[in-house]
Each structure stands twice: as structure tokens, then as C-alpha cells.
């Protein structure tokens, strides 16, 4: 075991430490807090590179386990591990995180809670890196929840805005619904495998011994145990990765500051679900000896991913908010990753995760730059023509857009998405996910083109510029001090954009079919992807056509004629107002949830309260009234039956007493006399007794 395995825990520990320290810092120490966070992140990045190098030289999982607690004679161990999956994620998260930290110093410059922001951000980074290095499902779960907490804190960062507070709560609760499944799956796995460690020199839950036991044991509905547990854990992944139907929190999460959206809700945390499935892939894919079809668990993952991919893409077409478009796009891309995991294995899914992290972070940061430049404006109808004012942002944003659209051959997104489409095409269960994914890819290219046309082309439609707008602003955010006209962002913000843009290009070449380094690295030494497979070129051609067609359609509808005013309805809205409305409202899923689950919860709460107040309390009241009634009867009997007899006897005693009292004259000598007479009587009595 190399030294780096032992110290890999420092990678999450450093940002956590930074968070702890800056939590104690006073509000005004802005520079120390930001500096601390950035330095810790940089150190983590350096360590992550070392870890990466170590994983390159030894791709088998290396672990460091320790005992966390004991119950009875049992020991619950936690630990961390280093394998290619961890190494890749570590580098990606620390690098993107570092860039976003730097960017945030510019973006959040004027915020009064600047210190808190970096505290939360560093805590998030710590939690996320903890998820990555965890060698125990429990440790992963714990860090997972901490990540959820920081997501909650950061979405609700502008807590005075009730919408942000509500969105934060919604995010936490929605992901917690998934986490309940995760928790049950985890305790089930623990009960069956007797450990929660992933790798423990042959005894781990993901190693052949435990997995083969789980794969042959069946439980309800003919599911194998491994699939059942895998699906329960997948619930957690669905919550975190915004898969339908638990995606509702992700668009609302855009209430948070934009760097948060970029880091947490695009690049890293939402990908944690994908990472989780990749991590427990041996469990998900375990099947008995004679079965060859993909396991139920992986099929479910694929279908959920496909539905999510198509859903997100369609909804993104009809959004106005620059960040909401990207949010739905993220939902959709996460769906792609799930498809990739389901049909092609961890390497395919993870490749898209990594490339997506870079270009989506780029897009969000670009969007942040746009919002910053437009003084907080987020509605794309009020933008336009920004390429003149913000050339650098435009350039990098364009690269991100091409990457997301899957522009053929040059950008990373093309290669990763192509790998997914290829695997989906060859899936043995059904072709439908392939067609859904293809349609989604077309729409992706389309809505990204639409967005770019709205934002960067045409004329400026900001209020006070160009044609005067009378519509009241959709967002009353005035957090950013506004200059009169759009302006390019400072270098501290554009430099990360440029770096990310470079990687949005370059990263793709790590995983092209000609040189699938990434896949072979992730799959360890048993790489099979190097050979040319049938249909590869055909799929590539098809996906190229799809992407180009999408971009063309977008340009046709939005770019050819520049949008003049911000009141002008969308082209699609004009053509299909009903459909557009449905899409704009994201199929009314929020409204449906409000009408069903939320209302159900509220009613159940009311019911529980009423039960309490009236039924249970009522029973108690009835009993107490019964007792009171008895008491009344009793007192009646007492007063009129018992007391009557008692009173009369008492009265006679009292009269007797009065008679006796007359004897008590108060004269001592009288008493003495009585005593003397009594003596006489006594002696007489005794003598009489003797005489007899």
C-alpha cells in the first residue's frame, strides 16, 4: 500500500477543516475564508493528482479500513479506497471545484455572507470528496447526506428570499425520499453481506464472495437479492441525480447562487448518484451463472435514464430562464449517464459524467457571467446581442454549447454521448432507449442553439436598452449592483471559463473509439474496447447527423430572424401554444405533486392532529367524564344516604358530649372527688370479687 492510499482521506479532510475554521471566523473576514477554501482545494487537487498517478500504476482497488464502532461483538468498519473510478472523480471534482471557487470570489464579491458562502462551499467539497473515496456504503451515505445538507444550505443561501428557502427545503426533502430507499437498501445489504465495506480483501460487499451469494438468492417477485438491494440504493441515486420522478427539486435549486448551480447542481453532486451506481456496479450487474440478459436492476436504471433524458430535453425547449434551461439540460444529461451505466457499464456512464462535468460547469459559469454582466437578469427574452459586450463569455459559452450538443468530432460531448448511443443501440433488451436517447440528443442540440441565439445574437433587449419593455421583470433580484449596460466579467471569472473551455474540447480525446484510454483505465486491466466493433462508424455518423440537424433546426427557427422584442412569443409557442405550455410547466409535475403528495401529507398531518385532539383525547375525556359521573353518584350517595345515618349518630354523640362536659366544672377538687369515689367503688368491687 503506497503512502497515498493512507493519506487519501486528507483530500476530503482538508476542505472540511477549512469549512470548520471558516465557520468560526467572523462575518467580516472575507479574504481569509476564501483563501482558506481555495488553498485547501488546491492542496486537495495536488493530492488528487498524486492519487491519480498511484491509481495509474496500480489500478486494482487499494483500501484502508478502520473500525468505527462496535456493537456487541460486532465491528462496524469504515474505510476509504483508491481505484481508477475514485482517482478520476477526485481529479475532476477537485479541479472543477477549484476553478469554481476561484470564480466565486468574483461572482460573490458583493455578497454580505461571503464568508459563509465559502464555508458551505468547502464543506460541500469535503462531503463530495468523501463520497468519492468512501470504501464503505455507510461512509458514503454519511458524506452523501452532508452533501445534501450543503446543497440545502447553498440553495437557500439567499435565505431572505422565500422562494430560495422553499427551494432548499424541497431539494432536501425530495432527495431524502430517495435516501430512505438508500437507507433500507443499505441495512439490507448489511444484513445479507455482513459488511458495508466495498472491498476488504475478499470479504467486501462488492467482491465475488458476497456478490455471488446475493446474485443467486431470490426474494419477492423473483428479484435476486442483489437486484433488489441495488434498486433500493438506486432510489438514493435517483433523488440525488434528479431522475424522473424525483427530479423536481433540481430546476428549483437554481435559486441558489450560480457558482453553486455550476458546482453542485451540474458538475458534482448531481453526478454523485451516477457515481454511486458506478461504484456498486458489481452488485447491480451481478447475475447467476446461467442468466445472460442484463439484470433487472440495470434494466430499471436504463429505462429511468431514458425517460429522464427525453423528459429533460423536451422541457428545456420551452424555458425562458437561462439557468432553468441548463437545469433541465442537466436532468436530461444525467439521464444519459444512467443509460450509459445501464447499457454499457461504468466506463460509458462515467465518461459522460466527466465530460459533462466540465462543459456543464462551463455553461453554468458562462451563464453566471451573463447574469453578472446583465445585473442579475436571468430571462433570456431580455438579453440578446451579448456577443458584442461579452466576447470572451460568448466564445467559451459557444464551446460549451457545442460540447453539450455533441458537435461532431471536435468536442468531448460528442465522444461520450456517442459511446452511450452506441451501447444503447446494441442493448439486448430493447431498442427503445436508443431511439429515446437519439431524440433527446436532437432536442439537446436544438434547445442549446435556441438559447445561444436568444442570449448572444440579435439585439440587446435589456430593460432600458433597445426597444422599451413594459413587462414587469420576472425576477425582482437586485442583489447585484447594476451598471447601465452589459459588461464583460472580471478576469477572475473569465479565466476559469477559458480553462474549462479547453477541457470541454480536449477531454473527449481520452475516450474516442480509436484510443479508448479512459474506458480501459476504468475497467482495469481487462480492457476489450480497443478493437473495432461493428456498427461503430454508422452510429457515429448517425449521432453526427442528429447533432447537426438539431443545431440547424435551432438556427432556422431562432437565428435566421433575430428576435426583436422581449414580448414576442416564442416561435414554437406561436405554432403550438398548448404543447409549449405543457412543456414550459414541465408537464405540470410540480402541480401534480402539489395536488397529490404534498396535499396528502398535509391532510395526513391534519388527520393525525385531529386524531390526537379528538379521538385519543376524546377517549380520555370520555373516561374522565365517566369518572366524574361516578364521582357525582358517589357524592350523592354520600350526602343523602351515608351522611344521613352518620349525621344522626354524630348528633347523639355530640349531645352526649355536651352532657358529659357539664361534669367538667373546671374545679380541681371536684375531679379529685370523683377520683376518691372511684377509688371507693374500685375497692368495693375488688372486695366483692374476693368475697365471692
Amino acid at each position: 500500500m503506497t503512502w497515498i492510499v493512507r493519506y487519501v482521506c486528507l483530500i476530503p479532510a482538508l476542505p472540511m477543516l477549512a469549512a470548520g475554521i471558516s465557520a468560526l471566523l467572523p462575518q467580516r473576514s472575507r479574504k481569509p475564508a476564501a483563501g482558506l477554501a481555495i488553498v485547501s482545494m488546491a492542496a486537495s487537487f495536488a493530492l488528487a493528482l498524486c492519487a491519480f498517478a498511484a491509481a495509474l500504476s496500480n489500478p486494482s482497488p487499494q483500501v484502508f479500513n478502520f473500525s468505527w464502532l462496535q456493537f456487541g461483538d460486532q465491528t462496524l468498519a469504515l474505510g476509504w479506497l483508491l481505484d481508477p473510478l475514485t482517482a478520476v472523480m477526485l481529479v475532476m471534482v477537485t479541479f472543477v471545484g477549484l476553478l469554481i471557487f476561484i470564480y466565486s470570489t468574483g461572482y460573490m464579491e458583493h455578497d454580505e455572507n461571503f464568508t459563509r458562502f465559502f464555508c458551505f462551499l468547502a464543506l460541500f467539497a469535503g462531503g463530495m470528496l468523501g463520497v468519492i473515496i468512501a470504501n464503505s456504503l455507510l461512509l458514503l451515505f454519511m458524506c452523501w447526506e452532508i452533501v445534501g445538507l450543503t446543497s440545502y444550505l447553498l440553495i437557500g443561501f439567499w435565505y431572505q428570499n422565500p422562494r430560495a428557502a422553499a427551494a432548499a427545503k424541497k431539494a432536501f426533502i425530495t432527495t431524502r425520499i430517495g435516501d430512505l430507499g438508500f437507507l433500507i437498501g443499505m441495512v439490507w445489504l448489511y444484513a445479507q453481506a455482513h459488511t458495508l465495506l466495498f472491498y476488504d480483501s475478499g470479504r467486501g460487499a462488492l467482491e465475488s464472495g458476497a456478490v455471488s451469494h446475493l446474485a443467486v438468492t431470490t426474494t419477492i417477485y423473483g428479484l435476486t437479492l442483489s437486484s433488489a438491494i441495488g434498486l433500493l440504493i438506486f432510489c438514493g441515486a435517483m433523488g440525488k441525480s434528479g431522475q424522473v420522478p424525483l427530479h423536481v427539486w433540481l430546476p428549483d435549486a437554481m435559486e441558489g447562487p450560480t457558482p453553486v448551480s455550476a458546482l453542485i447542481h451540474a458538475a458534482t453532486m448531481v453526478a454523485a448518484g451516477v457515481f454511486l451506481i458506478a461504484r456498486i456496479y458489481p452488485l447491480m450487474s451481478a447475475h447467476g451463472v446461467e442468466v445472460v440478459t442484463p439484470t433487472i436492476a440495470l434494466q430499471v436504471v436504463t429505462w429511468v435514464g431514458a425517460i429522464t433524458a427525453l423528459f429533460g430535453a423536451t422541457v428545456a425547449v420551452a424555458q425562458w430562464d437561462i439557468k432553468r434551461i441548463l437545469a433541465y439540460s442537466t436532468v436530461s444529461q444525467l439521464g444519459y449517464m444512467m443509460i450509459g451505466l445501464g447499457v454499457g457499464g461504468p466506463a460509458v456512464g462515467m465518461f459522460h459524467l466527466i465530460t459533462h462535468a466540465f462543459f456543464k460547469a462551463l455553461l453554468f459559469l458562462g451563464a453566471g457571467s451573463v447574469i453578472h454582466g446583465c445585473s442579475g437578469e436571468q430571462d433570456i427574452r431580455r438579453m440578446g446581442g451579448l456577443r458584442k459586450y461579452m466576447p470572451l463569455t460568448f466564445l467559451t459559452y459557444g464551446i460549451g454549447m457545442l460540447a453539450l450538443s455533441g458537435f461532431p468530432l471536435v468536442v468531448s460531448g460528442f465522444w461520450s454521448k456517442d459511446a452511450i448511443l452506441y451501447s444503447a443501440h446494441h442493448w439486448s433488451v430493447s431498442q427503445l432507449p436508443f431511439y429515446m436517447a437519439s431524440l433527446g440528443a436532437l432536442l439537446t442540440a436544438f434547445y442549446m442553439t435556441r438559447q445561444v441565439c436568444y442570449v448572444f445574437f440579435g439585439t440587446l433587449r435589456l430593460p432600458g436598452h433597445g426597444p422599451v419593455s413594459h413587462s414587469e421583470p420576472d425576477s425582482e433580484d437586485t442583489r447585484h449592483h447594476g451598471a447601465g449596460h452589459p459588461h464583460e466579467s472580471p478576469a477572475v471569472m473569465t479565466a476559469p471559463l477559458a480553462i474549462l473551455a479547453f477541457f470541454a474540447f480536449a477531454l473527449g480525446f481520452l475516450g474516442t473509439p480509436l484510443w479508448p484510454w479512459f474506458q480501459s483505465f476504468l475497467n482495469g486491466d481487462h480492457s476489450v474496447a480497443a478493437e473495432h466493433e461493428p456498427g461503430l462508424v454508422a452510429t457515429m455518423a448517425a449521432s453526427s447527423v442528429i447533432a447537426l440537424l438539431g443545431i440547424f433546426l435551432g438556427w432556422l427557427l431562432y437565428g435566421r430572424q433575430s428576435i426583436a422584442t422581449c414580448e414576442a412569443p416564442d416561435v414554437l409557442e406561436r405554432a403550438q401554444p398548448q404543447t409549449f405550455r405543457v412543456l414550459h410547466q414541465a408537464y405540470f409535475i410540480d402541480a401534480i405533486y402539489d395536488a397529490t403528495f404534498v396535499r396528502l401529507t398535509r391532510w395526513t398531518a391534519k388527520l393525525a392532529d385531529l386524531l390526537d385532539r379528538f379521538l385519543f383525547h376524546g377517549i380520555v375525556q370520555a373516561i374522565s367524564f365517566g369518572v366524574l359521573g361516578l364521582a357525582w353518584v358517589d357524592s350523592f350517595v354520600d350526602n343523602y344516604v351515608v351522611n344521613f345515618g352518620f349525621d344522626s349518630s354524630w348528633r347523639s354523640i355530640s349531645m352526649g358530649g355536651r352532657a358529659m362536659a357539664a361534669l367538667q366544672g373546671g374545679r380541681v377538687q371536684a375531679y379529685l372527688r370523683y377520683i376518691g369515689l372511684a377509688l371507693v367503688a374500685l375497692v368495693l368491687y375488688l372486695l366483692w370479687g374476693v368475697a365471692r
Binding site: 362536659a661 367538667q664 366544672g665 373546671g666 374545679r667 380541681v668 377538687q669 379529685l672 372527688r673 376518691g676
Partner: protein
């Protein structure tokens, strides 16, 4: 009449005289003295019974007499003190005018 009976008769007479005094005198001090006389009569009985008892080595009677004398002394001291205190309170020791024990 045996010797013992003579002593017992004497003590009875003494007792009766003491009782008569206690019952008839108005002066509280004399009442107390009457009571002392009754106690003395009892002491005579103790000694007489001891003297005429089965063996004079059983000295229970003597002991009783001694303890009785002690108690009587204590009683006399406290009783007289009470009388003095009562006198101070009501300026009289006339038992006919003292009836605050009345129930």
C-alpha cells in the same frame, strides 16, 4: 388485729385525712400538702409490707419507698412552682375561683 393490720389501718387513716384536706381546703398549697400526705401513707404501706413480708432480704418495698419519696419531692417542687406561677398570673391561689380547666 395483727401488727400489719395496725400499720395498714394507720396508713388508711392518714390517707383519708390527706384526702379530706385535699378535698376541702381552698388554699392550693394545702391541697398539695394533702396529696403529699396520701403519698406518705402509701410509703407506710410499702415499708409495712416489706417488714412483714416473707424475708427482709427482698428489699423491693424499701426501694419503692425510696423512689416514691424521690418522686414526691420532685412533685412537690414542681407543684409549688406551678402554684407560685399561677398566683403570679391570677393573683390568687383560691381553688374555688380557679376554674379555667372548665371544658
Amino acid at each position: 388485729m395483727t401488727g400489719l393490720q395496725a400499720y395498714l389501718l394507720l396508713s388508711s387513716l392518714l390517707f383519708a385525712i390527706g384526702l379530706a384536706g385535699a378535698l376541702t381546703r381552698r388554699n392550693a398549697i394545702l391541697v398539695l400538702i394533702g396529696i403529699e400526705l396520701m403519698l406518705n401513707a402509701a410509703n407506710i404501706n410499702f415499708i409495712a409490707f416489706w417488714h412483714y413480708g416473707p424475708a427482709t432480704t427482698y428489699i423491693t418495698g424499701v426501694m419503692f419507698a425510696i423512689f416514691s419519696i424521690s418522686v414526691a419531692a420532685a412533685e412537690a417542687a414542681v407543684g409549688l412552682a406551678i402554684i407560685v406561677a399561677a398566683y403570679r398570673h391570677s393573683h390568687t391561689i383560691d381553688l374555688d375561683s380557679m376554674n379555667s380547666l372548665k371544658g
